[in-house]
Symmetry: C2
Subunit: 391 residues, 2 copies
């Protein structure tokens, strides 16, 4: 079934490789549009597998599993960027429609390639250099200053791929572990940013583009905690620049589907940090806060349907992630949160609670920013650990 | 598993008997709240069965099938009112939690009981009388006037249970068919209404109630075509009366879950037409148009979770049903509709297109009522039969 729209009654089938919370939240969007939705899950109890009618259990690192999965799909897309590039190419070579395609995806799988490509296209990125030894790092550090950032070109270890190193000794330590795990590294300057922003755009095969409003993201220990939409007090010109940048990068890289660009706002302008080509944590607020959720938008884009309006449904939308705490019984606290604020929207991912793990998120909409932020934080904190204070 | 919240990790399982579009649209609400959702479907290709992970195929008229289904559920609820009353009672007697319960449900399954109960409670209903012969109808007609309405007390034939009869000859014809199908009938006065309204409320076992804004419904040939929320130019006092009436009836009848009350607005006040105790076509607009969708609200109510805010998300919400036309290939027209209006929300039910059948709906939100209505009608008409005009 390689040709598009070939299912019974012309109902297209979209297959998403991966069954985490992004696939889980894509499933309802497919339901509304009458699109058949299938996930490739590592096991039947993964987040999206619990709630999707069509689940294939298999390994995204297995050529055979991917090929078998793609056979039932009109379009193959992704919930994460960990499918090895050669296997993405193999699906394409076999005639499957893969969106985004392997060429675009490379920039999310190889940070060095991403930096080189964006720099060549003229986008401002942190200074960077490939490093293989302590001497390489020391040389870059003497030029770019300390702290500096070490990043795995691809993958990582212990669940991490980014390390902020305060000095050469810390960097040498990371380098040692990276060599053990056969990781290639790049060193990047540590950017002094005033805040982090993200721009989420969609692009269809026809080249139609749509940009959501620029959001502010708040990270703690490398994990997204809060997203404010739209980014408060962002000068209109900067917002326009960010939207244009997102749409241009999507076009230049040939992205089909969603593209999230994480940005540093500095006194000196916007600097590109990371890219993702899938629904993104910085866009969860769109479920309630935008006319078209990012999940519906991704489906529309990969199916080459006209894109939906990315307009705001409310003055402010604030999303706060629920990070697992010490007490796994999150559900027992749901009653309190619902009673305390009948308008806050809770999304649970069906994942076992582990400390620090994203197990859900809450979104609050409102007219007053501080009140809206307070509502979202209060609900997320209470769900996470039973108090309304941040941990 | 009869005790509440007994699933793994305290995740409650809600089972919905029936797998039509109401169950289909309940499924995403369960996903967001991390609730396990199971449907009892007549076949694996029914609307909700296509998109729900946990599908039990069985017959809602079979005691054994219902009992087996209920065994896996913390709460059993319904997508329609056709489960025979004795079987609902049997589930309750076996210790299952059934919401709404058999006593409340009786008023949606037996129109004579409903009329008697509501009349006894002091609510204005059309005048009615049980009829078994042409003489009975003639006697009622000479008193209540013509046309009059014949209604099956329960069920119907040829997919209908309500007949508007212009004269005795037409009524005698219906009576003859009804006798063939062993249907009991009541005759009701034909109410001269200025328009039809509906009030949708939720009630939890604790007795918490929440009322959505009163909506105007537009019916054609006994089928709901359009819902406007809130009902335009409705005097505040009438709106308040309708909301109070909905909440009171829910309490008086012991409803748990949603209660939709269809009303006639007359120069002489509000008259109760029909009741439904489930998500209702008059509440589909709440998916985008309210802070809490009716589907989420129903789940919250039957699980005795605090109810969500029934507040408006937009000045106006207009829902128009997509009725199947002659051309079954609705999907080929989706592209046009999405391109013409990137903000209109399309919901397809995955049902084969048959003339006159509800196969989906569209909702438009906006600040200007006429423009919003035009957008919704244009999209629904185009999807149904490829022109923007009404059929």
């Amino acid at each position: 079934m390689n040709s598009n729209y070939s299912g019974p009654d012309s109902v297209p089938a979209v297959g998403m490789v991966g069954a985490g919370q992004l696939a889980r939240m894509t499933s309802p969007a497919a339901t509304a549009l009458g699109i058949r939705f299938r996930v490739l899950a590592g096991s039947a109890d993964e987040s999206a597998a619990q709630v999707t009618a069509d689940v294939v259990v298999g390994d995204y690192r297995s050529r055979a599993d991917l090929m078998a999965f793609a056979d039932g799909c009109d379009v193959v897309t992704f919930d994460h960027e960990h499918v090895p590039g050669p296997l993405v190419e193999a699906m394409e070579s076999a005639g499957h429609t893969v969106r985004p395609g392997s060429r675009a995806l490379r920039c999310t799988q190889d940070k060095q390639a991403m930096r080189q490509r964006l720099t060549a296209l003229g986008y401002r990125c942190p200074r960077f250099v490939p490093v293989a030894s302590g001497d390489d790092v020391a040389a870059f550090g003497s030029q770019a200053g300390w702290p500096l950032v070490l990043k795995a070109v691809s993958g990582g270890y212990d669940g991490r791929g980014i390390w902020i190193c305060k000095d050469l000794s810390a960097a040498t330590d990371v380098l040692g572990h990276a060599l053990e795990h056969r990781l290639e590294l790049i060193a990047e300057e540590y950017v002094r940013f005033s805040r982090e922003l993200a721009i989420l755009v969609a692009r269809s095969p026809h080249g139609q583009g749509a940009a959501y409003p620029v959001v502010e993201t708040v990270q703690q220990d490398g994990i997204c905690r809060e997203v404010i939409a739209p980014a408060p007090e962002l000068p209109l010109m900067v917002a326009n620049d960010a939207q244009r940048l997102g749409l241009e990068i999507a076009r230049e890289l040939g992205v089909v589907g969603l593209l999230a660009v994480e940005l540093f706002e500095t006194s000196d302008g916007l600097i590109v940090n990371e890219l993702a080509m899938r629904p993104h944590n910085s866009g969860h607020w769109t479920i309630e806060g935008s006319v078209t959720s990012q999940f519906e938008q991704h489906l529309r884009a990969v199916l080459d349907l006209p894109l939906g309006s990315p307009g705001l449904a409310s003055r402010w939308s604030v999303m706060v992630n629920i990070l697992g705490g010490d007490d796994p019984d999150l559900r027992s606290r749901l009653v309190h949160v619902m009673a305390a604020d009948p308008a806050v929207k809770v999304h649970l991912y069906g994942k076992p609670v582990r400390p620090g793990r994203k197990v859900g998120h809450v979104t609050a909409l409102g007219q007053d920013l501080e009140r809206t932020r307070n509502r979202a934080w209060r609900a997320a904190n209470y769900l996470a650990h039973g108090t309304e204070e941040d941990a």
